[in-house]
């Protein structure tokens, strides 16, 4: 049996996708292993980490059912605030996370949204400052203490940026499926 020929562009694309997937899986691993300070290292200093609110709107307004920039969100953080969230957990007296929750991050349906750019010019994905627009799905399971269980499910739009040869997260938009949040609080990173 002969395999279909792999063009150099296609090969470069597969290579890039594998790097992106490895990166997102590694990020999930850091969070699930509670290596929060190491996780912060994966974020650019100008990151916007944003979790808008979902609403129930009439059909003609369906495109507005995610709160826009400038509206209230669940989370609307910069790097400073994210670092403070980590610092708060590390005090050991952040009662909402003490003892720590157990979390598993499942990241799936990973796709590179602006792949055409990199298919046309594979090398550009490795230039400093290159932006990779990723869409994926997440399922984050949290269990804490005895029976407290939350399933947070939704879409994520991540912008990864090439910094010194490495991938870093420059933007994250977390689009959860719930309108009324069924979790009593959001103390874990998604």
């Amino acid at each position: 049996m002969t395999l279909p020929p792999l063009s150099p562009a296609r090969l470069a694309y597969l290579n890039l996708m594998r790097e992106i997937e490895d990166f997102l899986h590694y990020e999930a691993e850091l969070l699930d292993e509670r290596r929060f300070e190491a996780w912060l290292e994966l974020l650019t200093d100008d990151i916007h980490y944003w979790m808008p609110i979902r609403k129930n709107l009439a059909f003609e307004d369906r495109d507005h059912d995610i709160t826009a920039a400038g509206d209230v969100a669940w989370i609307d953080d910069d790097k400073t605030t994210l670092s403070k969230r980590v610092r708060q957990i590390l005090t050991g007296i952040h009662w909402a996370e003490e003892p720590l929750s157990r979390a598993s991050h499942l990241v799936t349906n990973i796709s590179l949204f602006n792949q055409a750019t990199f298919l046309a010019d594979p090398a550009s994905a490795y230039e400093d400052g290159a932006l990779l627009n990723i869409k994926c799905r997440f399922l984050v399971h949290r269990n804490r203490l005895e029976t407290e269980t939350d399933f947070l499910v939704g879409r994520r739009e991540d912008t990864l940026r090439r910094v010194g040869g490495e991938l870093r997260i420059a933007k994250r938009k977390i689009i959860i499926d719930q309108s009324v949040l069924l979790a009593k609080n959001l103390t874990i990173f998604i």
């Binding site: 709107l57 009324v180 009593k184």
Partner: protein, 442 residues
């Protein structure tokens, strides 16, 4: 109170500072308080800036029940029970929008923005004799009031006016809801509502915001992390000297009394916000004189509307869902006239402070969750909660209305007054009775 074979007063020892755990875990008491408290009291429904234009509506809640807040063609605001008069379908299942009519999905009855039943399929053919559509309007609240942009309603015709209901707590609500400059300008809701569900009784939320200075210790971790609007530790700028005040209607407020002689040095994390605040505060002092620097930090208007009046500025309504389930609705607001950059800076501060992801509120919800869980058992519920801090310390002040305590500031006076009032609601058969009763809270 009928459900518990005793007077509610037997569960609330106001003078001894002990409150029975049954209030937080007993399902019969919960059912009865839906009638005795939520069907009679004035409840917060929404904000006028959420329904600015004719046809605008939002869906809100009053107690367990869904309501529609709408502005009709003539500009009048209405609050309707969100249930079809035909067979009960939830008439409006959108959170917000703009419409000409509310059309029921089930059998197609439609209602105007004023609640009038304006369309019934087959009206001519099917109903002989014709029924009077005027009698089958959407159910509308008995009374509605607007106070500094906030919209309130009650199902009880015999309830006193909203101003009377507030009593001297009007001072707190006015200071909490006015723009920073203390004038008559508008404040506006910053956008959408955060809604989330917590596994606790609604009263634990109400008492916390009524003024629980003792629980500050639970927020040590956020203070160490430092999320305030200026640099460094803490979660707020210096609020000044703390004073708690309770009101016979069951309302409770914690004020910060600022030093009136110093120029404010708040919001150092944003130059333009700091300048805007200083500018407003100067006007406020000119306008309000000696009361300008008395700032409500947190408060609860009985039964379930709570607010932060300064840092952050938000309204939180703890809607009951069950004896140990509460739906939290939080909105944030700012001066309508504030520069966009100020609104942006404040919005980010507010949501890192409060709401389910708020670094302060997260810890509250953990405590409320497991206080409820650990109080449920047949043994646990035999032991009353302890609210004895500051017993006998209450007094009055020339400047701040209400029964006040400023030392010790960790007094539990306000929760005591809240539960005393709750017991009066549970025992009283009528508003006449309730109004006659509200006095003895010292």
């Amino acid at each position: 109170m009928q459900s518990f074979k005793c007077s509610a007063q037997d569960l609330v020892d106001f003078h001894g500072g002990e409150i029975s755990r049954e209030l937080f875990v007993n399902a019969d008491i919960y059912r009865e308080e839906q009638e005795r408290v939520f069907a009679r009291a004035w409840l917060y429904v929404g904000h006028a800036t959420q329904v600015r234009n004719p046809g605008d509506f939002i869906v809100s809640k009053m107690g367990e029940e869904s309501v529609i807040l709408a502005r009709d063609r003539a500009g009048e605001i209405h609050v309707f029970l969100n249930t079809c008069r035909h067979r009960g379908m939830k008439v409006c299942r959108y959170d917000e929008g703009n419409t000409k009519t509310f059309m029921c999905p089930y059998h197609g009855w439609s209602y105007g923005l004023d609640g009038k039943l304006i369309g019934v399929p087959d009206y001519q053919e099917a109903y002989k004799p014709a029924f009077d559509r005027e009698e089958w309007r959407l159910v509308e609240v008995a009374q509605m009031a607007i106070f500094r942009g906030t919209i309130w309603a009650t199902w009880d015709k015999s309830a006193p006016s909203f101003e009377e209901y507030l009593g001297e707590a009007r001072f707190a609500l006015d200071h909490a809801l006015c723009p920073w400059d203390g004038g008559d300008g508008e404040t506006e809701v910053l956008g959408s509502t955060q809604r989330w569900i917590i596994p606790s009784n609604w009263k634990i939320v109400a008492e916390n915001f009524a003024g629980d200075a003792l629980h500050v210790v639970s927020h040590r971790s956020v203070d160490l992390a430092g999320i305030g609007p200026s640099e460094g530790e803490g979660r707020r700028d210096d609020p000044g000297r703390l004073v708690v005040a309770a009101y016979p209607g069951g309302h409770g407020v914690m004020y910060g009394v600022r030093d009136a002689t110093t120029v404010p040095n708040d919001y150092r994390g944003s130059r333009i916000t700091a300048e805007y605040f200083r500018h407003c505060w100067k006007k406020r002092r000119a306008r309000r004189g000696p009361t300008a620097d008395i700032v409500p930090l947190v408060g609860t208007i009985f039964p379930n509307m709570s607010f932060h009046g300064q840092q952050p500025r938000t309204i939180l309504v703890a809607h009951p869902l069950g004896v140990d389930r509460t739906e939290m609705w939080r909105i944030y607001f700012t001066d309508r006239g504030a520069p966009a950059e100020v609104k942006d800076f404040l919005r980010r501060y507010y949501v890192r402070y409060a709401g389910p992801a708020g670094m302060t509120e997260q810890d509250d919800m953990e405590n409320w969750n497991y206080a409820t869980a650990a109080s449920r058992g047949v043994i646990a519920r035999q032991y009353p909660y302890h609210y004895k801090a500051g017993l006998g310390a209450a007094k009055t002040s020339d400047l701040i209305p209400g029964i006040i305590t400023d030392h010790p500031i960790t007094t539990e006076q306000n929760p005591r007054v809240l539960y005393q009032r709750w017991a009066e609601y549970m025992d009283a058969g009528s508003w006449d009775h309730l109004l006659g009763k509200q006095s003895v809270i010292r």
